[in-house]
């Protein structure tokens, strides 16, 4: 039978905490940029301008048909070259920059689908009312439609954030030391991979489970 030895975890806690901060940094950046960019994409997709809506639809469909692993690898190929041609060789952590950009642009595609559904859930009469009051289309969107849409889709946006939090572990493929990457490295170094992987799984579970329970409670409050 396998004999567990958890002794390498306490000493590694500061390192693991640092990794967890990277995980949160990627998650939060992708949420914020993803929602802003996703909103623009959603509005563009619903635009009456054929070209604009086609471009937005292509962006969303492309990102949604390609595995996240490939997206992360793609951006790790493109971003360093772009940054180097702009800033020269003096650069910070290219891996982190690539991951931040990849996750933001990738999540925007998923967020835009949620937001589009949210916008469409607002009664059409609301837009007509806004226009009748003499507002422009942009003003109607900003002041009338979007506030109501966001209220309707908050639970879905948060659920997507929990999925995103779990997906950030995939930065492993470009060797960025997020929480999971750090746990793996520590386990590999100490020959205690079994314990470290179980520990990492437990932490991810606790955070995601707690977050999704919170979302559920929020949802039932909104539903009332």
């Amino acid at each position: 039978m396998y004999e567990f030895d958890w002794s390498s975890i306490p000493g590694a806690l500061p390192l693991l905490a640092k990794g967890l901060m990277v995980t949160f940094e990627v998650t939060l950046t992708a949420i914020v940029v993803g929602i802003v960019w996703g909103t623009l994409l959603a509005v563009a997709r619903l635009s009456s301008n054929k070209l604009v809506s086609f471009a937005a639809a292509s962006y969303v469909n492309l990102f949604r048909s390609v595995p996240l692993v490939m997206v992360i690898l793609w951006f790790y190929l493109i971003v360093p070259q772009l940054l180097r041609s702009v800033f020269g060789d003096a650069l910070g952590d290219i891996r982190l920059a690539s991951a931040l950009i990849a996750f933001s642009l990738f999540e925007a595609a998923y967020y835009s689908e949620i937001i589009r559904a949210g916008i469409q859930s607002v009664a059409r009469g609301q837009i007509a009312a806004g226009l009748a009051l003499g507002m422009t289309y942009a003003q109607t969107m900003r002041l009338v439609v979007l506030p109501q849409a966001f209220r309707n889709m908050t639970p879905l946006l948060l659920t997507q954030a929990v999925i995103l939090f779990q997906d950030t572990s995939l930065v492993y493929v470009i060797g960025l030391s997020d929480f999971f990457g750090t746990a793996y490295k520590v386990g590999d170094r100490d020959g205690r991979l079994v314990e470290l992987l179980l520990f990492a799984g437990a932490i991810y579970f606790i955070i995601s489970f707690a977050a999704s329970q919170l979302v559920k409670r929020l949802q039932s409050r909104y539903a009332r």
């Binding site: 048909s65 779990q166 992987l197 179980l198 999704s212």
Partner: protein, 246 residues
Amino acid sequence: MNYNWNWGVFLSETPSGGTTYLAWLFEGLQWTVMLSLSAWLIALLVGFVIGVLRTVPHRGWSTLATAYVEIFRNIPLLVQLFLWYFVMPELLPEAWGMAFKQSHPLTQQFLAAMVCLGLFTAARVAEQVRAGIESLPKGQWAAGQALGFTLPQIYRYVLVPMAARIVVPPLTSEFLNIFKNSAVATTIGLIELSRQAQQLVDYTAQPYEAFIAVTVLYLAINVVVMFLMRRLEQRTRVPGFIGGGQ
């Protein structure tokens, strides 16, 4: 940026000889498809069982099924894969663990990825099945009881056949997801599509051609799966019902 495009690279011979890089890509495609289809089989079987158990009027079973769904949904796929690949063989009875570790590396990678992807997706399938069963009118249940069916019979003859048809549309997106998620197997070294993309980059130094080719192949898989599922949806549609679940 100066980049020398060279699409001919796919036809050149690999260093190990005998084949071309194009053949590598197709090998990767085969592994991706094989892994996804076999995992999908597991996901459907386990997912239907768990989904049914979640709706059963029996505390113990439904709690067990809920626990399954929560565990598999709240741990990242990558972590689950590493748990199956690195941790499971250590925790199994020694003889089994040894047998696993002594098998061909490709067998180990494939088995771990298949079980992982299958059980992971099963949790999502279970949620759709549960939503499908819950969306059925209460009268269906009552009708089964009125006919003198036992609980297993009500599920077998009334609820599950209906739910199975209702969940086809939402399962389409899970089926698409399993192909995308199979790319995670690259992390344990299985030579599926995205692994081959990285290998091509290492061997040929033509990253853009390799990545574009693999991306196009993933898009093609998407289109084919969507086309097939559309046809299945048309054939299995129940008049008067729209797909359940989110």
